[in-house]
């Protein structure tokens, strides 16, 4: 459900979501709760990856683990070089763990992130999961 808000035409709509800058894009769940925020311009592929990250977060917060895992995987398949990719590795594994209680999936994450995205903050976040 796309909503377009021009800040000069609808300033109250802009402030309603605590927006402070343009461009800003929000991904909300069906109840209007914000689940992801993108501030500033991004190239097309990065933006698309961020939108998928938002949809994955919506599914995750609804405890739709399989849907979330699938969306995180879609990011990795379509946009493996995006900024959203290392975060997707992390949350894809968490989604799988939530669905199965199989913690071994988390143990693979630090190695994957170190190999593919060693400079990402997500590689650091996964360090405690290293076997």
């Amino acid at each position: 459900m796309p909503i377009g808000v021009h800040i000069k035409e609808n300033p109250s709509g802009f402030h309603r979501f605590d927006s402070v800058w343009t461009p800003t894009a929000l991904v909300l769940d069906e109840n209007g709760k914000e689940r992801h925020r993108i501030e500033g311009y991004l190239p097309k592929d990065e933006f698309a990856a961020q939108l998928l990250l938002g949809l994955a977060r919506v599914a995750f917060m609804q405890k739709k683990w399989a849907d979330a895992e699938k969306l995180y995987d879609e990011i990795l398949q379509k946009y493996p070089n995006s900024e959203a990719a290392p975060e997707s590795v992390y949350w894809k594994a968490v989604s799988h763990y939530k669905a199965t209680n199989d913690h071994t999936v988390l143990g693979e994450v630090p190695k994957t992130l170190q190999q593919k995205y060693p400079d990402s903050v997500w590689a650091k976040k996964a360090i405690p999961w290293a076997a």
Binding site: M1, P2, I3, G4, V5, H6, I7, K8, E9, N10, G13, F14, R16, F17, S19, T22, P23, T24, A25, L26, V27, L28, D29, E30, N31, G32, R35, L51, G54, L55, V58
Partner: protein, 32 residues
């Protein structure tokens, strides 16, 4: 595929709730 942007926030949020769909809100200052 062209996107049809809703300008009525409340109507769009209500529709999203009814249809169980997520929402994308795009804030812009760019000239139309």
């Amino acid at each position: 595929m062209a996107v049809t942007w809703n300008k009525d926030i409340d109507a769009a949020l209500s529709q999203a709730k009814t249809q169980h769909k997520p929402v994308l809100v795009d804030f812009s200052a760019a000239p139309a």
